[in-house]
Amino acid sequence: MHFAPTDVSLTRRTALRLGGAAWLTSLATHLARKAEAAEEARSHPPAQSLIMLWMAGGPSQLETFDPHPGRRIAADTRAIETPVRGVQLAEGLEQVAERLDSIALLRSLVSKEGDHERGTYLVKTGYRPDPTAVHPAIGAICCHELPAAGTDIPRHVSILPGEWPARGGYLGDEYDAFKAGDPGDKIADVSARVSHPRYEQRLADLNVLEEGFARGRRAATEATLHRAKVREARRMMTSQQLAAFDVEAESAELRAAYGETPFGRGCLAARRLVEVGVRCIEVTLSGWDSHANNHEIHARQKQVLDPALATLIADLKQRGLWDTTLVVCGGEFGRTPSVNRLGGRDHWPHGFSMALAGGAVRGGTVVGATDPEGGRDVENPIEIADVHATLLSALGIDPAKELISPAGRPLKLADGQPIAAVLR
């Protein structure tokens, strides 16, 4: 609590030296924990990348991964068989169903956040909104814990960012996801607006102005990182790796398989970004918030999701990226078992689903179950923090590692336990 001025400046200087977020000191206990974690290490090597398919608006578990065919709460939604015995998906996910032996389903997620913004915060960061600290999204944690050399483009990317894309939180804005639109369009702000020689001249002119300003402010201007970021931006503009966003380079056949939709192209771009070393790619499919006409809305959404998710899995396998890439598919909450007068389902955080795949994830497993009658009690309830702990450990990151928040409070990377059943 007592922040003597010198303490504050020390932290600021340290930040300067190490480039941004270095005031986050891991506790000494971390080393001990790491040793423990290594002992009980799973047989599967850690994944290198994470693809988060974000279903913004809150998809209905009943119309996706957790159907209850024939029950009142199904409201006539039918189910289809999968290669995993006794496990069904809702109709409309036929292609995904065929690959269910590669996917683990979590069917008993529970949360207390029924608001879109707060729910999104919880599911993306693993923590409930809390005024004492802005928590980093899991992609930001990956980038912070697994630095990668040789990547000129941002290692945390959000394709089709919705209203609340993944943020760096207390790790710093440099860990925010880089926002990119439909990969069918040009990436915004990475192309020079004037000819190459004129651009270079502008940068040379800029240097003259910068040198003048730095006089008498050498340390202060270095601490801003402004000039460093201009250089990095320039490197990114001219990087070959930017081509990873260009899905036109893929065959027409493959593009068609993903689906000629912004989301389909986003999933394809995600695979290409993984290949050039990007750590975490979030691809958003908005439009699940079906307070009215739930079934029609979900049918339409599934036409986009089904080919994209199924093809992503097949493509990652075909490219040899399956063992090193994690895929997650889910949204901020589920939807009510009862259907309202407008044929809609409302927000329901008391039992919803998420799909995990790739890396160390054990395909074909199902954890938890919701009440077929639509009650709030679920079998084997899973907290969002447990999902985060699971993903982090599959990435070779110790979820119990603590970072010190700016308010001086030690915070675990994920405040939950890995779900052993879904990991190999």
Binding site: V134, R198, L206, R409
Partner: protein, 540 residues
């Protein structure tokens, strides 16, 4: 064809008028309000702060920076109070004022302008209700900010404003202060305001104490207990949302023990100064009376720390809402808190006093900076011996980009088209630049997307391209009588200063002999380089 020619002529006349007016220092084209410059009492308070800092510099053997150029001080004031930079027109007006009191006059003019109330209200609102959209239908952020701006424009005492926030009852639409309460309503939870979130907010925003940690356990560093937190929350225990809006009903505030699950009733209670609690009123009115009691120093300190941070870009005590209630605190904080209470929580006066201190008017550059070691530099920074270099907020950056492209001041008198373009451009830019939300004084470096946005983004492109009607760069290229004037005008518009001899020579060479489109391009290039400097995007 004739229409085109006529249009061109009109454009030239308009732009020429503006440029001529701005180039000739004798003309000030717009009416300025008659303002009273800060008086002796403000100067005396600022002098007490100066004396305290001077003693500290002497004791620590720190050599403070030189005084900053007047124009640079004017720029800092505009950024802090209006969220933008002075226009060329403003600069001409400023330089036309008597030198010995032009900075004070400028400060008074900024505070008398409605843009001050609107901008500062938005920043204060972040501390009061955050930046979330809040519960749909039950929370009206814009109404809240507009109400707050009205209070600031009338210079209502700060303690009165806070009393409204904590204790007002009624509908969020016609009693906008209650949005402070309604923002915490969790839809689905019987539409009841969240007493815990309210207690945490009151502690942080009005007492400078992060009591939130004590929601779950005792504060790790301070003398705050979990029971203190529950006692504060209990003041909101009977607050409900009904048909007629927010109101208070009798009833016990119940708390569930996290370990045992036992539920027990908790009476309202304050962590210190129980004598200050008024004997009557609703629970919320009692809490408001206690928070704003003249003896409650944490309340005054929090306001001072926030006002200082708005002007300097960095609070006196970091983090901004965690000020020690016991032990050592900066002397300057105490001097200003005393002055704030003595003068009836006069928020505008507080800003005037801080902006009148020597520290606020020091240069950010330090002679021999390269020879200072880390420890020496830290002494400088920590003791306000040089003005801190801090990152501008996104809306300050976009405000400055748009203003720099216009020779005339963009304000409420501006053409409606200009204002609409500004509002739209602003939202998109802020979105892409990245808003830091409620944590507005975190010390952070720039990011790659920010650089890309400034280097290649649509707005900077639009504002630097060949456009005689809309862009100062083109207007300067066409209308400035010579290279020297062109360069000086561009620097004044973007950086609020004149070029150094080195810059003047360098850019004169770049402009020499150019005419027509080539000259317009060169001015566009110069604007691009100026907008992409550290100097432009960082307060200094």
């Amino acid at each position: 064809m004739w229409a085109k020619n006529l249009l061109f002529l009109t454009v030239c006349t308009v732009a020429l008028g503006a440029l001529v007016a701005s180039v000739r220092p004798a003309i000030d084209s717009r009416p300025r309000p008659a303002v009273a410059v800060p008086g002796d009492s403000v100067r005396a308070a600022a002098a007490r702060v100066d004396a305290a800092l001077a003693r500290r510099w002497q004791a620590l053997d720190v050599q403070p920076a030189e005084a900053a150029d007047d124009l640079l001080v004017a720029r800092r004031m505009s950024l802090a109070l209006h969220g933008t930079i002075p226009s060329l027109e403003d600069i001409r007006h400023f330089e036309n004022l008597p030198a010995e009191r032009r900075v004070d006059t400028w400060l008074a003019e900024l505070l008398a302008d409605r843009r001050y109330a609107d901008y500062v209200a938005e920043r204060l609102a972040r501390a009061y209700v955050g930046v979330e959209n809040g519960p749909f239908l039950l929370f009206r952020r814009r109404r809240f900010v507009a109400w707050l701006a009205d209070q600031l424009a009338e210079n209502q005492p700060y303690d009165r404003i806070v009393e409204h926030l904590i204790a007002d009852s009624g509908l969020w639409t016609d009693t906008p202060a209650v949005n402070f309460v309604t923002v915490t309503i969790n839809p689905g939870d019987e539409n009841k305001p969240d007493a815990n979130r309210l207690a945490a907010r009151v502690a942080r925003a009005f007492l400078g104490v992060r009591l939130d940690c004590a929601e779950c356990h005792d504060h790790p560093f301070a003398d705050w207990q979990q029971s203190d937190f529950e006692g504060l929350a209990a003041f909101f225990g009977g607050t409900q949302q009904g048909l007629r809006g927010i109101r208070d009903v009798p009833g016990e505030f119940e708390v569930e023990n996290r370990q045992t699950g036992e539920v027990s009733a908790v009476p309202p209670g304050v962590p210190f100064g129980a004598d200050w609690l008024p004997g009557e009123g609703t629970r919320r009115q009692q809490l408001a009376g206690w928070v704003t009691h003249p003896a409650n120093r944490p309340f005054a300190r929090e306001a001072v720390n926030r006002a200082w941070a708005m002007l300097f870009g960095r609070p006196l005590v970091e983090p901004i809402d965690d000020i020690p209630t016991e032990g050592e605190r900066p002397e300057v904080l105490e001097i200003l808190a005393d002055d704030f209470v003595e003068h009836g929580y006069d928020w505008r006066r507080l800003l005037e006093v801080i902006a009148s201190t020597r520290a606020f008017r020091l240069d950010s550059a330090v002679a021999g900076d390269a020879d200072l070691d880390d420890a020496a530099r830290a002494l400088h920074e920590d003791n306000w011996a040089a003005f801190p270099v801090t990152r501008l907020r996104p809306e300050q950056v976009i405000g400055a980009v748009l203003q720099s492209a216009s020779l005339a001041t963009i304000d409420y008198d501006s053409n409606i088209v200009v204002r609409a373009a500004r509002a739209i451009g602003q939202n998109e830019f802020v979105e892409r630049y990245g808003d830091r939300g409620a944590d507005e004084f975190d010390d952070r470096g720039g990011t790659i997307p920010q650089s890309l946005l400034m280097m290649n983004g649509q707005i900077v492109f639009d504002k630097t391209k060949d456009d005689l009607l809309a862009n100062a760069a083109t207007q300067i290229a066409v209308l400035a009588p010579d290279d020297e004037t062109a360069i000086e005008t561009a620097l004044l518009c973007v950086l609020s200063r004149r070029p150094t001899p080195r810059e003047a020579d360098y850019f004169a060479e770049r402009l020499a002999g150019t005419t027509g489109n080539k000259r317009k391009d060169r001015l566009g290039d110069l604007y691009w380089s100026l907008l992409n400097t550290t100097e432009f995007s960082w307060n200094h």
